[in-house]
């Protein structure tokens, strides 16, 4: 037990040292006017995660489980999650298209590619749903579990 505590203490002390080194680097290399505004961006990052993205996911999951028939939930949830995640990553690309630094940055048609990607994800979800339904029906029929969930 003591060794375990010692390991935790050592880990914590190492963490404090490394973290303070990072803080020193920050204070040393970043000019004061920028340093003052950095916490706003850090706070913004937390707000975006904890009060937008995660509640959005929780809310969408809650609505899905409430509204849809039970067996469709899993596939619909995964599909929606993948659509949301890829959209989140595509947003900066979509916003910056046309304002790029030079013609070799962002050379794709990102709107078209994003729509294609989402269509592919949804189509894959639909196929998966049909396959699952088919195999489930067969396995239920063979096990005689007609009234099961």
């Amino acid at each position: 037990m003591n060794k375990f505590l010692l390991a935790r203490g050592a880990l914590g002390a190492a963490g404090a040292g490394v973290g303070l080194w990072g803080l020193w680097l920050l204070l040393d290399a970043v000019p004061a006017p920028a340093l003052i505004r950095l916490p706003l961006w850090l706070g913004g990052a937390v707000l975006a995660d904890d009060f937008f993205l995660v509640p959005l996911t929780l809310g969408a999951g809650w609505l899905l489980t409430r509204w849809s028939a039970h067996r469709t939930v899993g596939t619909a949830r995964t599909t929606l999650l993948y659509v949301g995640l890829t959209t989140l990553i595509a947003i900066p690309l979509l916003l910056r298209q046309g304002k790029r630094a030079n013609p070799t940055v962002l050379p794709r048609d990102y709107l078209r590619d994003w729509l294609l990607l989402e269509a592919t994800i949804i189509a894959a979800g639909a196929v998966w749903f049909v396959v699952q339904r088919f195999t489930l029906r067969r396995s239920r029929a063979s096990s005689g579990d007609i009234g099961g969930r």
Binding site: F4, R8, L11, G12, A14, G15, A16, V18, G19, L20, G22, L23, L25, L26, A29, V30, P31, P33, A34, L35, R37, L38, W41, L42, G44, A45, V46, A48, D49, D50, L53, V54, T57, L58, T65, V73, G74, R77, T78, L81, Y82, L85, T86, L88, I89, P92, L93, R96, A101, N102, P103, T104, V105, L106, P107, R108, Y110, D113, L116, L117
Partner: protein
């Protein structure tokens, strides 16, 4: 009117908000963060090499691989971080211990550390991704802030591991509960893990093509296509950005060493030419292999009478910017693959690729492959 009560830890009935889930997802996120940190540190050391460190010039594609991993692990960390935050979300609403006590102080410090960890990591991933688009909408310098935050993240992460170690060790191993379907959601832990792994794979596969040409066509979330650009190679800083407009007949290439040398472009072309297959591998994560022709730096060093193990300062005609000069450490200057390149993929360099002459060396970040070179200075 009565306002609805704020949520508490008990408002989230899903059994997926469980320490076992947090342990597994935390493990994955931890691995991604560690890879991202180490490859980022390597890139930093490449660009600001301390005197005691000698970075080897081989394997030639090492930097291409590490920087691809850096951007890939950072991109993959986005879904992993979101999943981890989702799992531990109820903790945000845990009751704050009151009145003040030692335990309350410990709790406060722990929450503070998590606030630093989450905010720094989220901002780090955000700034890193936007940097791959060359988009800098924030008021702080990207490079310095990105680097300092990385150390802060690793520090707070170690402290976080120290605090959570008992919980982590208790939930490290797989349990039968992982595959039990909970009645409320129909999603087992194992299904959740698969879903998150799938999300990470999805963003990885749709973005890594900017440095892995085989996956290029489906890299719909990548800010670069590795074969788009003059001579089939992307550009970071154009000649216009660097204010290099035209190169006249009076252009001279000089070498300052034990003997001073001066060449016209035609004289450079008459020197023994060599070929290298080397990638441009950019800090922004894209990379593309190319065929280069030019004069070995090693040969130029010999011509001016400098010793084989010399360091070389490379001076560009570009105006401003951090990279108007670069330094070739001796291992890179002596490497037979390192060229003062005059030709790329079978033709003279395009102006955007550094016409009339540029440096190309193995295992180096693109920003140090200095373009529009007109002078070499032998340092030792």
């Amino acid at each position: 009117m009565k306002l609805p009560a704020p949520p508490t830890e008990k408002s989230f009935p899903s059994p997926l908000h469980h320490p076992r889930v947090a342990t597994v997802l935390g493990r994955w996120l931890g691995i991604a963060v560690l890879i991202c940190f180490l490859t980022g540190l390597f890139s930093h050391l490449q660009q600001t090499t301390p005197g005691w460190l000698a970075i080897p010039s081989r394997p030639a594609s090492l930097y291409r691989v590490t920087q691809r991993l850096h951007v890939l692990s950072g991109t993959i960390a986005v879904p992993l971080l979101l999943a981890k935050l989702w799992t531990v979300y109820p903790k945000l609403f845990a009751k704050v211990p009151w009145p003040p006590s030692r335990k309350a102080l410990g709790n406060f410090l722990e929450r503070l550390s998590i606030l630093v960890l989450v905010s720094a990591l989220a901002l780090e991933l955000f700034t890193g991704f936007l940097n791959t688009l060359q988009w800098y909408p924030w008021p702080f310098p990207f490079k310095q802030t990105h680097y300092a935050l990385a150390w802060i993240i690793i520090g707070v992460l170690l402290a976080h591991l120290a605090v959570k170690l008992p919980l982590i060790t208790a939930h490290w191993r797989r349990t039968p509960a992982d595959s039990l379907p909970p009645a409320t959601t129909g999603m087992t832990r194992r299904t959740l893990f698969r879903t998150v792994a799938g999300a990470a794979a999805l963003v990885g596969i749709t973005s890594v093509g900017q440095s892995a040409p085989a996956l290029g066509p489906i890299a719909v979330l990548a800010p670069r296509k590795p074969n788009v650009g003059p001579q089939g190679l992307p550009v970071n800083r154009t000649a216009k950005d660097a204010e290099v407009t035209e190169v006249g007949d009076d252009w001279r290439f000089t070498v300052a060493g034990p003997r001073s040398l001066s060449f016209t472009l035609d004289q450079l072309r008459e020197l023994p030419q060599n070929e290298s297959e080397l990638p441009i591998a950019c800090v922004e994560g894209w990379s593309q292999g190319a065929h280069w022709e030019g004069i070995r730096i090693r040969d130029l060093l010999r011509l001016c009478g400098a010793p084989d193990r010399s360091r070389v300062r490379v001076v560009s005609m570009e105006k401003g910017g951090f990279y108007a000069t670069s330094e070739l450490p001796s291992a890179f200057a002596a490497d037979p693959l390192t060229l003062l390149a005059l030709r790329l993929n079978g033709a003279d360099l395009a102006l955007d690729h550094g016409f009339p002459a540029r440096i190309i060396a193995p295992n180096r970040p693109g920003v140090l492959q200095t373009k529009w070179v007109h002078r070499l200075e032998v340092l030792t």
